[in-house]
Symmetry: C2
Amino acid sequence: MKWDALEEEPCSLARTVAVIGDRWSLLILRECFLRIRRFDDFQASLGITRHLLADRLKKLVRFGVLRKIPYQDAPKRYEYILTQKGLDLYPIIMSIVHWGNIHMVDSRGRPMLHQHKNCQKMFDPVMVCSECGEPLSAKEVHVHPGPGARKSSPVHARAQERGKRGVEQG
Amino acid sequence: MKWDALEEEPCSLARTVAVIGDRWSLLILRECFLRIRRFDDFQASLGITRHLLADRLKKLVRFGVLRKIPYQDAPKRYEYILTQKGLDLYPIIMSIVHWGNIHMVDSRGRPMLHQHKNCQKMFDPVMVCSECGEPLSAKEVHVHPGPGARKSSPVHARAQERGKRGVEQG
DNA sequence: ATTGACAGTTCTAAAATAGAACTTAATGTC
DNA sequence: GACATTAAGTTCTATTTTAGAACTGTCAAT
């Protein structure tokens, strides 16, 4: 499968993966949220090859996640900053960090702590339902085809069938 | 950079990216949450090459995200199901889907809708602070080094400095 | 005139991926 | 018994991506 094909799929996850679903893009975005904005700073802090960095930055700009703004004129130099679309990736970044905090830390503990300016406390992110405010888990959610869906796949129908009489998941 | 190096980094995001940060792993996990469990079903619904699928499933099992359980004996056949560690990826999946819903849908609208069994309503996921319950955004969070941190990088310090007197982000 | 900062581009070698065919083990059909 | 089918991989070659290092072009400072 090609990356371009991924963008076109009738699936919001696939389309997002087309933007951020590679080894480097998420790390670049982490640096963006840590206020890194310049080519050489990204390169130095990530150890990414310059070639790939140029490529990924171009892609993130193309998708409207980052924007190039000039910070000096002679020679022309640009900074890469997050657009609103890019800032909206924050829940993704935070949920990834949180999962790592819970499941991937070593004996030394968390590399980073997060403090909420609002309440001043160290916090973890919690995902809740927009309607009732209760925390969400996979088992409490039904999935329905939306207006942008394509015809349901036979594979999924078959799996659903087996699921009903099979072993319970988890 | 090698994948193995990523696992060892003192960063919860990098360590999580080592597990799920490639083109296919997230799509495979999407299928898991849609109750797909068998090799050929993953292959048919994703169009992934069998070689890569075998490789990625092995990796996800190695990281404890999936578990192989036998569903028949002769010949031995296994299903891949999510462990608790895997189920805990749900907020990541949902926030990725939500971002796609907001920023990547075409004119036809969302491919999928999510209904909360609790309140019966169609919902969007919202990320809130575990302490005060308020919705989170990047600008409302301070980052501090935790017990597992390594010495702070000069690049980040420099970027912080520039940030204070530079253009505001966003 | 030389050095250094910055933001890339170019080059070759190594690694990962795509796409298709093949393997193994058992089951069902003619 | 011979033959096709299902399932879960493995093997093969060709193509694409990535790594790693060196190079380019502008300008400023020494």
